[in-house]
Subunit: 199 residues, 2 copies
Amino acid sequence: MPRPSTPLLSPDRIRSVALAIIDRDGLDGLSMRKLAAELGVQAASLYGHVRTKDQLLNDIAQSILSAVDVSGFSVDWREGLIRCARSYRAALSTHPNIVPFLAYGPAGREESLQRLDLLHGALVDAGWSRREATMIAAGLMYIVFGSALSSFSSGFSSDPADYVDRYPHLDRAHLLPGVARELDRDSFELALAAFVRGL
Amino acid sequence: MPRPSTPLLSPDRIRSVALAIIDRDGLDGLSMRKLAAELGVQAASLYGHVRTKDQLLNDIAQSILSAVDVSGFSVDWREGLIRCARSYRAALSTHPNIVPFLAYGPAGREESLQRLDLLHGALVDAGWSRREATMIAAGLMYIVFGSALSSFSSGFSSDPADYVDRYPHLDRAHLLPGVARELDRDSFELALAAFVRGL
DNA sequence: TGAGTTAACCTAACACTGTTCGGTTAGTCG
DNA sequence: CGACTAACCGAACAGTGTTAGGTTAACTCA
């Protein structure tokens, strides 16, 4: 059918359904044809609203990262770093399946850079040199992205019994989904606290 | 041509050529047909030596991670952590293009787990509780993998002039390849030092 | 009101991808 | 010498992202 009375597609709708598919089926579970199908449309029609799949993923990533809050440096820079990192982690852990895409970088996404720039500026204002500020901001990103991708929750989904005999030191309990989630959060908090304290 | 006098293929040769392609053309630059071509062979022939592409990538990842050294805890645990992290980073930064694949994790790769297990055991021996040891090991991995994937070198490869006006705080010099490499290393070292000191 | 343009969809196709099936033959073992 | 296996190849399948060209509804403007 040609041109419907009310448009079926819009960039926003495409992005939101695409993100839903990613959340549900993983990053590899998203194909343009499947996306089109769930939108009640043929695959080719998407390209009137989206330049390319990669661009679509980038847009989705940006919209996720735009939820990150870097205000909080009014108090002091340590607290600001911690808030910023928590906000980042919250954004990423809401949509963990998109993290592998972020790994393809460029970290040169607009939103990321804007936030990095603000972070950097706040650190400089707090008395760090430009170079130090850059490295501290980078270190914070290490913890954020590292925790997003090497998480216990998404890591070992198979049967705990497989591990317990081969790796005597590792605790089987880590592998239960509930415990893993909590452990992820606590590990992140510990790493963050240690990092900020150690500066 | 059928069965040649001396076999053209072996798992080792396949892995090494595949890794060379990944290093040269990126993770997406590796296809079974291209790999076969560079081995002087048809794509189907690979499947006599390799179960699947994913398995091949896993094997490559393992062989890279098996270069990681977790001995060094004889001295003290802080030094051990630092050495371990450096060794990890060295392994990953030699083949940065495979990092996106690792992001798809399961982190449940054999080699990773073995090393994590040893790390964990050493921390427990040093007096940390099992839970603390797990979280510390996780934190170390955050920094290692975070630095591997959100690096300045691989991040912004485009023209520095694009950035300098839009992001006033960021220093243009960060974007020059040479400086970026050095900055990556220093950022990693700073994050690592701060983390270990803060424990 | 009616003509022309544009916007939004479609079908069909292209060049890829990973993977499998069935062949063909060189080497090896009894 | 015969049977068998190991190692390759050609062709195909289902799936991928993406593009070209067509069809028609909705909008614009005289």
